[in-house]
């Protein structure tokens, strides 16, 4: 009795596919300077203000202002500082100042993250 054919020969179409894949292949093209040529044709990289630099600049400016204040204005007592801060915060929270702060915050955010989409595309 003949054993069943466990490995039947492939269907004609499969054989044609296999044959074409085997004999119709292309060797990879060497780069030969092509990628360098593409990179030279790219538009220059966007000048992005580094966030780290922005934070460091803010820190330095804050330190300079604080040191200048200490040098010329003396060291305020904590109680004075507290009352002045409370008073200034109260003034800032009036509606025109709050509006101005909001606009400033949005402007800073737009300057730093302006490339991002605000709202999802409809």
């Amino acid at each position: 009795m003949e054993s069943p054919d466990l490995n039947p020969s492939p269907a004609p179409d499969d054989a044609a596919d296999t044959w074409l894949r085997a004999n119709h292949s292309l060797p990879p093209l060497p780069d030969a300077g092509f990628s360098r040529r593409v990179l030279a044709a790219l538009p220059p990289a966007r000048r992005r203000f580094s966030r780290t630099r922005f934070c460091l600049a803010g820190l330095a400016a804050g330190l300079v202002v604080a040191l200048a204040g200490l040098a010329w204005g003396g060291v305020p007592s904590l109680a004075t500082l507290d009352s002045e801060l409370t008073e200034s915060t109260g003034r800032l929270l009036t509606s025109p100042a709050l509006g101005a702060l909001g606009v400033a915050a949005i402007s800073v955010w737009y300057a730093l993250c302006g490339g991002r989409r605000l709202l999802p595309r409809l």
């Binding site: 004999n23 292949s25 060797p27 092509f34």
Partner: protein, 178 residues
């Protein structure tokens, strides 16, 4: 590093080196495809390939990952080819360019086979040749070919089957199993 990671680096920090790596990875497929479309005109194909990559760079934010990155690139390349053909109307077909495309022969019978196959392919309709190129030489699936060429899936299958059918006598002479 995966293509997705490189794309993210280009998008986030405009990293030209990361884009250069993407170009090195996919230049062969894009240039082969354009050489196929330009009938072996390597200079024209490389110019179009360069335009393809520059446009891909500019439009990378539009790549949504619905297809693979190389498939997306081949779609851009195909659009560039169509625009170039519209501009030029005719692209020179030089037989020596076609011959230059053939892989280096490793043995006499293989060389004959490749020669026969190249000759048979030239007798096919342009759409059939392109479908066969993308399927067998670039390894794209039917839906991917439809995506690249903007053809309906049924049209892709029809062109592939017709092309294969026309090649069948040649296949039969080289491989009796077919």
């Amino acid at each position: 590093m995966t293509d997705s990671a490189l794309i993210a680096r280009v998008l986030v920090s405009d990293d030209h080196a990361a884009f250069g790596e993407l170009v090195r990875r996919h230049q062969s497929a894009v240039r082969h495809f354009l050489r196929h479309l330009a009938r072996g005109d390597a200079a024209l194909a490389d110019d179009l390939a360069q335009e393809t990559f520059v446009q891909a760079y500019r439009g990378l934010a539009r790549f949504r990952g619905g297809s693979t990155f190389p498939t997306w690139l081949l779609g851009i390349a195909h659009n560039h080819w169509r625009n170039a053909r519209r501009r030029q109307r005719t692209v020179p077909v030089e037989p020596e360019h076609l011959a230059a495309l053939e892989p280096a022969p490793s043995s006499a019978p293989l060389s004959d086979l490749k020669h026969d196959l190249a000759g048979a392919l030239r007798t096919l309709a342009e759409e059939e040749q392109t479908a066969l190129h993308l399927h067998y030489q670039q390894g794209l699936s039917h839906p991917e070919i439809a995506d690249v060429l903007q053809w309906p899936l049924g049209t892709v299958k029809t062109h592939l089957n017709r092309g294969k059918e026309k090649l069948r006598p040649l296949l039969a002479s080289w491989n009796p199993q077919t």
